[in-house]
């Protein structure tokens, strides 16, 4: 790789955009396969993304046939029978292999009473600090605080790099010419302040869609994280021990974390405070919980509440496609998108292949991030190798279609708040109906139109403006897909169509910018009989 200090112009075989776990694994694998690699994150590789501040379970199942089959079967009905078992098997295999690597790199997995390392959980700060170290050790060039603002393509439509800015200090432009690009920018949580999610604004969807990439499953985009009302900590695993109560301590009928979140949402929607009390945990669980999720307790310790004995108000924060399953459509096992030279991994890619229509929660997403990152990195490195030595010499043009070049100054913050008014409310996004979806789409389409005639002010405003544009675009793909899926399935709840329709066991693809399109897509996996039918 060569670089020029003055022009901030780099050349590499592979550019990875986004430095959470998926991007880090993609960069590591591509470098191991002999590629020169640049890894650019808009924050800091090691703290950026939903994983670093969280810690997460991992869908890690030893290669025992019965355990593996059970792991696959357990999610199929929940996921609305959209998942693909072949992808699930690949993820289990790759995750098992990758966590062995993580152990070899020195990650301090706990050891149980039998002396066996337990690898079903990763503490985010430790894991992502480790990933930063290992990608640098294999020679990856890491660009922190360097958001990508547009992709570059050649005359044939293949992706050949990106441009962006270094946002710290005096804002400067950067250009990376690459033979393949991996989008690993995470999902979109619409700046809801769910834990670690405010860097996740759908940037990669927009970059990719501007080159013609397709999305899949964007109707599965209404995940909400449960947490204390005052706090960002949307870690909901321990609410399995919760009872939900009114302010006076009386029980709320039907409210629950796993089953019964709708009841919580309905109460919050009506302006009724919902309190949680983790009184179902036994003494051992209360002791173990602290070491399992240290940050879960920060929010309580710092206001002097004991969540096991004192009830506290809760809320549901939008986690959008971060814990939804929609994202960029993948067309092969290398995690290629529909655009030549463009790959996608982690939450930026559709997770329907492993989770179908329902969030797999942290553990499936963590397994998907490491697996899909590995495949996308390998795929991008192989693509670069096949591309030949002269690729960097080809002419490149910008694909930024969210124009942001008009005459009017863009009020990015105002626009972001306007988008949030369409996607945060439970009665628009969690509980969906066609009238409300269309009502939102009229305004969202207007915001997109507005963007075409607006311009970002200072260089520093360009990032915020792109984030606003990405959120507008993401909301439009979400709600058009939610209209196209004329049924309820998995997390997608249509109040006018409460049941699943067997005829809609397919993916809803979407894309487009000025004109958003959707189309049904049925794969071979959807033709297989349902487990219940086969049994």
């Amino acid at each position: 790789m060569t670089s020029s200090r003055h022009s901030d112009s780099l050349q590499a075989d592979v550019l990875v955009i986004g430095g959470g776990p998926a991007g880090a694994w993609a960069a590591w694998q591509a470098a191991r396969d002999g590629a020169s690699v640049v890894l650019a994150d808009k924050g800091y590789v090691g703290t950026s993304g939903a994983t670093a501040p969280s810690g997460t379970g991992v869908w890690y199942v030893p290669p025992e046939p019965v355990a593996r089959e059970n792991a696959l079967a357990s999610r199929e009905a929940l996921g609305g029978h959209l998942a693909d078992r072949d992808w699930g098997r690949r993820v289990l295999d790759q995750t098992y292999e990758n966590l062995q690597r993580v152990a070899d790199w020195g990650y301090p997995f706990p050891v149980d009473d039998q002396g066996v390392q337990r690898r079903t959980s990763l503490q985010g700060p430790e894991y992502m600090k480790l990933m930063r170290r290992v990608v640098r050790q294999v020679g990856v060039t890491v660009l922190d605080h360097s958001p990508a603002l547009e992709l570059l393509t050649d005359g044939d439509g293949a992706v050949v790099g990106a441009r962006g800015i270094h946002r710290q200090g005096e804002v400067r432009d950067w250009t990376v010419r690459a033979k393949a690009v991996v989008i690993a920018t995470g999902g979109c949580a619409f700046l809801s302040k769910a834990l670690g999610c405010n860097v996740l604004t759908g940037d990669g969807y927009l970059l990719a869609a501007e080159t013609g990439a397709e999305l899949s499953g964007m109707e599965f985009s209404n995940a909400y994280g449960l947490g204390p009302a005052h706090s960002s900590v949307t870690k909901s695993a321990f609410y399995r021990w919760a009872t939900f109560r009114y302010a006076d301590g009386s029980l709320i009928e039907g409210a629950g974390s796993k089953h019964g979140r709708s009841v919580i949402a309905r109460h919050l929607q009506a302006g009724t405070a919902v309190h949680a009390l983790l009184d179902l945990a036994n003494d051992q669980e209360r002791r173990d919980a602290r070491s399992a999720q240290p940050n879960f307790f920060l929010s309580f310790d710092r206001i002097g509440i004991d969540p096991f004995t004192q009830q506290f108000p809760v809320t549901l924060r939008l986690e959008g496609t971060v814990r939804g399953t929609g994202g960029l459509r993948l067309v092969d096992e290398r995690c290629a998108t529909t655009v030549p030279g463009l790959f996608a991994a982690g939450d930026a890619a559709t997770r329907e292949l492993v989770c179908g229509a329902f969030t797999g929660g942290g553990s499936h997403n963590a397994a998907w991030a490491t697996s899909s990152g590995t495949w996308a990195g390998a795929g991008a490195a192989a693509h670069a190798k096949a591309d030949g030595a002269d690729a960097h010499g080809r002419a490149a043009r910008s694909e930024a279609r969210a124009a942001l070049q008009g005459g009017r100054a863009l009020d990015s913050l105002g626009l972001i708040e306007a988008v949030q008014r369409e996607v945060l409310p439970y009665d628009r996004n969690l509980f969906r109906d066609p009238v409300t979806l269309r009502d939102s789409l009229v305004r969202l389409d207007g915001y997109w139109e507005h963007l075409q005639h607006a311009t970002a002010g200072t260089p520093a405003d360009r990032l915020r403006a792109r984030e606003a544009a990405a959120m507008v675009a993401t909301a439009r793909w979400m709600y058009r897909s939610a209209l196209a899926r004329d049924e309820s399935r998995g997390m997608h709840k249509r109040v006018d169509r409460p049941a699943s329709d067997p005829a809609q066991r397919h993916h809803v693809l979407s894309g487009g910018l000025d004109a958003v399109w959707t189309r049904a897509h049925r794969t071979a996996a959807h033709a297989q009989p349902l487990l219940a039918e086969a049994a």
């Binding site: 950026s48 993304g49 670093a52 706990p110 605080h145 946002r167 919980a289 602290r290 070491s291 310790d301």
Partner: protein, 106 residues
Amino acid sequence: MIELVSEDRCTGCDLCVQVCPTHVFDAVPGGIPVIARKSDCQTCFMCEAWCPVDALYVAPFADEETAVDEAALVDGGLIGSYRRTIGWAPGTRGTAIDLSYRLLRG
């Protein structure tokens, strides 16, 4: 959100400026970092975890600013409490044992 950069403790290493994923701090030549864009803080506690001298305090309130009293935070053991819990403070390395496997299925 972030409420405190302790003048007493901060050594001006500017690591928080680097590691904050939402670019909340600005470095100050010859001085300690300032909280320049507080409204961008996502209350992820990462700056606190990475600060080598426990000079930062992130209040648990995600959506509102609160006043903090450094002396009271020190007395209450809250300054640096996250770094200690995850085993990143001096003398705590290796003490953070993740017992998730006892509580949660993978």
